[in-house]
């Protein structure tokens, strides 16, 4: 097998936005100055029609990131050959700059929860997920990025801190990291750790993309709803992240209560301004 190589940063180190059906026409008519687009892979598993039509046209103007929510990388079930085949076909059709999945499990015993559940951070789970990522990378013939997920629970039998689990996963599988800064903040609050300690453990070279999003609170627990502007604390953590990693392509995620385009573009501009600050500092 050809060893999947590091993606040569085909996404520009600028802000990107998630492409949503309610914005299709406006996007194509106005071609706003965002660096790149991201879509949920599964939303384009259909054979044709409106989603494929608009993605094909917009792909001609923007680099693309395919972000999967359903491959269930960490499940103890076998990988779904059908799901992988659809993903492979989508990659062939749209030639994305990067492909990402979540470091989590979504199914067991053939039954899908269609949610992103955290793994128990144990040696067994680490071995398992590393093997699965390698399987996926072989099947796709290229490197993938895995994203750290938000979580509202921890397993009593976990033996590895989440940040070490993420770093080891990348080191051993050769995958890249999609670092979700909002999820670090959410988990730091939910599980009581220092987000800067998490950040310090992340292998800089592996990080090829960053996610930013908004969260909601449910009592003492922060819930990663992707339905609000990015919180101030997360912008601060984002600055700290860039300070440590350098500039990285950064996505504004907004998946529920999706706002009008200007609101989304406003968030992207904020991220771009911080990326610009960072570049000015380095120059």
């Amino acid at each position: 097998m050809a060893v999947p190589s590091r993606t040569e940063h085909l996404l520009p180190p600028r802000a990107g936005i998630g492409l949503r059906p309610r914005h299709y026409r406006e996007m194509l008519a106005t071609l706003p100055a965002v660096g790149w687009l991201e879509v949920h892979s599964e939303n384009y598993f259909g054979a044709g029609g409106q989603p494929i039509h608009f993605l094909e046209r917009l792909r001609a103007h923007y680099p693309l990131s395919l972000h999967g929510v359903g491959l269930s990388l960490g499940s103890s079930d076998p990988l779904s050959a059908a799901h992988l085949a659809k993903l492979r076909a989508l990659i062939a059709r749209f030639q994305p700059a990067v492909i990402s999945e979540h470091l989590c499990w979504c199914s067991v015993g053939g039954r899908y929860l269609n949610d992103l559940l955290p793994l128990p951070y144990t040696e067994e789970a680490l071995d398992h997920v590393v093997g699965r990522i390698q399987q996926v990378q072989e099947a796709l013939g290229r490197r993938i990025l895995v994203e750290n997920v938000s979580s509202y629970l921890e397993y009593a039998h976990a033996t590895i801190p989440e940040w070490e689990f993420l770093a080891e996963t990348a080191r051993r599988s050769g995958c890249g990291i999609l670092l979700d800064v909002n999820n670090i903040h959410v988990n730091a609050v939910n599980h009581g750790f220092d987000p800067l300690r998490y950040l310090a453990a992340v292998p800089s070279d592996a990080v090829e993309e960053i996610h930013l999003a908004g969260f909601d609170a449910d009592g003492p627990c922060l819930i990663d709803t992707h339905g609000k502007p990015v919180a101030d604390a997360v912008w601060d953590l984002y600055r700290a992240t860039l300070e440590r990693l350098g500039s990285r392509p950064t996505l504004i995620e907004w998946d529920t209560d999706i706002p009008e385009m200007p609101v989304l573009l406003g968030e992207a501009e904020k991220a771009d301004a911080i990326l610009e600050e960072r570049r000015a500092l380095v120059a």
Binding site: G46, A47, S72, H83, V108, L117, H157, P220
Partner: protein, 266 residues
């Protein structure tokens, strides 16, 4: 230490309502109890799956109202697990479930409304296809017509119902203006679903036209499809019907080759 398999199995069981104690025993507490933490995930899972059903079945949702729809959808989520990481595949059996759901027994048309909505969902995402080159068809000698097998557009669907589901669908579309009442006594309907410029088009078909397209869609040769149409509608005009559906892009191809079974020595 519990294995990854056992951990995931226990969690999934707890999230779908049964055997919470085992999963709770695997979790840390802290600011929230393990049961509260499981509840957050249970709500997330349920609301995602119910949301997917609402997206696929907006008319059923409107007919039942929020609370009753959620009740039915919760029952469906428990009874028919999601089997794919692609949420668009979830809910295929919702019509059958509604047909057998005791609390929906007073609304016998509901299952067919759901079948129509699932068909709409499939048509919306189906493959694109160019129109039929009429020149290619003109090159076929007339005596070969009866054996032609026409192909329908991948983004098309046909549904016959003993209930006025087309009217029910229409009056429950956003922005519908007109007579909102539907007389269930008006009887059944044959519906053709297509897509034009990404917008779903639903129309009622006469019996002959419906039989013709339904048979063609199942791969029957034109002669047999026309017989079926004539059988239900003696006045059926084959030429005009074919021409219309070729022009409108419902019939998009044909196969003049004789299938293997007819070629056998008999």
């Amino acid at each position: 230490m519990p294995s990854l398999r056992d951990t995931q199995t226990a969690l999934a069981a707890a999230l779908f309502g049964a055997a919470e104690a085992e999963a709770a025993g695997l979790l840390r507490g802290g600011a929230l109890s393990p049961r509260r933490r499981l509840e957050i995930y249970r709500n997330n899972v349920l609301s995602t799956l119910r949301g997917a059903l609402r997206d696929s079945y907006p008319v059923v949702h409107r007919l039942l109202g929020n609370a009753f729809f959620d009740h039915v959808a919760t029952g469906f989520v428990q009874a028919r697990p999601s089997l794919s990481g692609d949420l668009h595949e979830f809910g295929a059996e919702f019509a059958d479930f509604l047909a057998a759901f005791p609390a929906c027994a007073d609304y016998p048309y509901l299952a067919d409304v759901a079948r129509l909505e699932w068909m709409c969902d499939r048509v919306f995402h189906a493959a694109d296809h160019p129109r039929l080159e009429t020149a290619a068809l003109a090159a076929i000698p007339e005596e070969a017509y009866a054996e032609l097998r026409f192909r329908l557009h991948p983004a098309s669907g046909l549904l016959a119902s003993p209930y006025p589901v087309l009217r029910i669908w229409q009056v429950n579309q956003e922005g519908y203006q007109g007579e909102p009442a539907v007389d269930l006594g008006e009887g059944g309907v044959n519906v053709l679903v297509t897509r034009r410029d990404f917008v779903l088009q639903l129309e009622g078909l006469a019996d002959g036209e419906f039989q013709l397209l339904a048979h063609l869609g199942q791969g029957a040769p034109l002669g047999r499809a026309a017989d079926a149409a004539n059988h239900v509608e003696p006045e059926f005009d084959l030429g005009a019907t074919l021409a219309r559906h070729v022009l409108e892009g419902v019939i998009v191809g044909f196969d003049a080759a004789i299938p293997a079974e007819s070629r056998s020595t008999r």
